[in-house]
Subunit: 342 residues, 2 copies
């Protein structure tokens, strides 16, 4: 069993952007989406929810079929300069080497230990996979959960110097709550590790572990010295929950087509297509990162070439227009980005 590919879109993430400036926001009302400016995006979301929950509407959807799926990185929280989970893996390396001192002189662990950010940014995809496999597998499920829990409670984002869990987008938190208040089951469907996101999803998003769909690894059942059964995380990929894998993951974990799906990158394309292809009212939404001041700017609106920082490519933008998806401009549609902004 070789190293796994947990985050295949990884390489392009190593651009250490660093811009700064939180901005004022507006007051809440009875409005279900108080952090949103009036506009086409907000209107599309509200109309969709009203249509599918009004019994007299031809687009009414039975409560048990109300499924809404949300990509995490870049859709619910900040994904720059690096996916939180990749940062976790890199920051786990010292503890890993302490437990296995023989790794100290072995690449790529040696480079990570050096703390040389430039060298780390130049690690190859293969090297990263080795780091992911070594830090995400080989321990019991309980050990893993407590390692992630400890990290997520203490680690800070390099730009805002705040825990990652405070870098969720307040307008999207409102969408999650609005959907749930309207009888929707909200799911995370992430290319990140399912086990990783589950550790904090309930606290941070109000989404329980069973509603987190992510990249899935195998586990091995065994008995401990106390005779009690436990599971060990194995370096065996069951499903790469990205691109077409997101649709397969939805089928596996949910078993029905979502009525609404939110994403922000080419990794979400198939999920948005699959959602939109269903009968009746269907909502497919892309978050466009066009706010370099308050968050980050990357994607077609910035005129960046597709292959560079192009998780949101021009082709994807064009497809959204053609197929009637909704595009959220962070700059124009969101009054504020984070809950803690004054």
């Amino acid at each position: 069993m070789g190293p796994i590919r947990y985050l295949p879109a990884l390489a392009r993430v190593f651009a250490l952007v660093a811009l700064l400036a939180p901005v004022a926001h507006a007051q809440a009302q009875t409005d279900p989406l108080p952090s949103w400016n009036d506009g086409a995006a907000k209107q599309a979301i509200v109309t969709f929810v009203k249509d599918t929950t009004d019994r007299s509407s031809p687009k009414f959807v039975l409560p048990e079929a109300r499924i809404a799926t949300f990509d995490q990185d870049g859709t619910l929280w900040v994904e720059r300069p690096m996916y939180a989970q990749v940062t976790y893996c890199l920051e786990r390396v010292p503890a890993l080497v302490k437990a296995k001192p023989e790794l100290a002189d072995v690449e790529p662990f040696k480079t990570v230990l050096s703390g040389n950010r430039q060298a780390m940014a130049e690690l190859s995809m293969q090297d990263l996979e080795k780091i992911l496999a070594a830090t995400l597998t080989g321990m019991s499920v309980d050990e893993f959960n407590s390692q992630v829990k400890q990290w997520i409670e203490t680690a800070k984002h390099p730009r805002w110097k705040r825990p990652y869990t405070e870098l969720t987008y307040q307008p999207m938190q409102e969408v999650l709550q609005y959907f749930r208040a309207s009888g929707y089951k909200t799911y995370i469907v992430t290319g990140g590790g399912q086990a990783f996101v589950r550790v904090y999803a309930e606290r941070v998003y109000g989404i329980p572990p069973e509603q987190v769909v992510g990249t899935m690894g195998g586990t091995k059942f065994d008995y401990g010295k106390d005779g009690k059964p436990f599971l060990t995380k194995e370096p065996k990929l069951l499903l790469n929950d990205d691109h077409a894998g997101k649709v397969e993951g939805i089928y596996l974990m949910i078993g029905r087509r979502p009525y609404a799906a939110f994403g922000n990158s080419v990794g979400d394309q198939q999920m948005l297509e699959y959602t939109k292809a269903g009968d009746g009212a269907r909502l497919s939404v892309l978050v466009l990162h066009d706010d370099a001041t308050r968050e980050y700017a990357y994607g077609p609106a910035q005129g960046l070439p597709d292959s560079k920082l192009g998780t949101f490519t021009q082709a994807l933008y064009d497809q959204a227009t053609m197929q009637g998806w909704t595009v959220i401009s962070m700059k124009n549609d969101w009054k504020r980005i984070f809950a803690w902004e004054p």
Copy 2:
């Protein structure tokens, strides 16, 4: 990709038992379990639910953590003389051969087409796997769902001449409802195909597709001629949800340890161990088939050798006693077996 192993405990099922006799039952009360006789099993279930839902109890469990898992075959409905899904696969063969006439003279399809029950009962495990792979994979998810739906609505059990969906155990239906009314999420955790059981689980058990954990096969994403995306069921096993696989399936699909688990065979052993090994109140339950008159009798109470019809072995019975699991005697604990009994 070779044929998959959907139902590994299959071989021992081919014993075409046929006994007959529905029996009278008693009246309902405000009792949450009216089809149960008073006794240790009913008492254990009621005490567990009360303890875990009473805020003043030291064994109180927060609503979001209330997970109860149920094996299907032999625990929620009849599994003799053959698993319903295996019967489905055999009965699909004529339609399969109609679509692919070249299979008519190929074994094991030829034997199944012959209708010779004796010859079918003697099919090898490998032959059965070929039949399962051919009838459960290779079609779109939508096609598969409509094939199963049609079958489950029309097929009849050889003994009772009723649809399989009328052969669920009324006392277990009451347990499902009682748990849900007490804030538990009820899950099926079956060695059978996840996709198969999902087709009818909501109608028959009130359990939505996303709460069916079963043996999981891979799917392939593609676009149809109309440009719309669809999934095809592939002959690729992701997880054999039986024995230790049930614990892995629970981890994958639910992500937390159940507080209660119900099973009836060695395939449920690890799930019951894992459930019981948790902190606080945990309920692990085995259904013992000791009622040859009203249903079937197989397992240790019948003094059958472990290896023959031993899905419920003497060793499992002993383990239940040692580890404080609850054993349900169908004969003594259930006033009636089926809802339609007079």
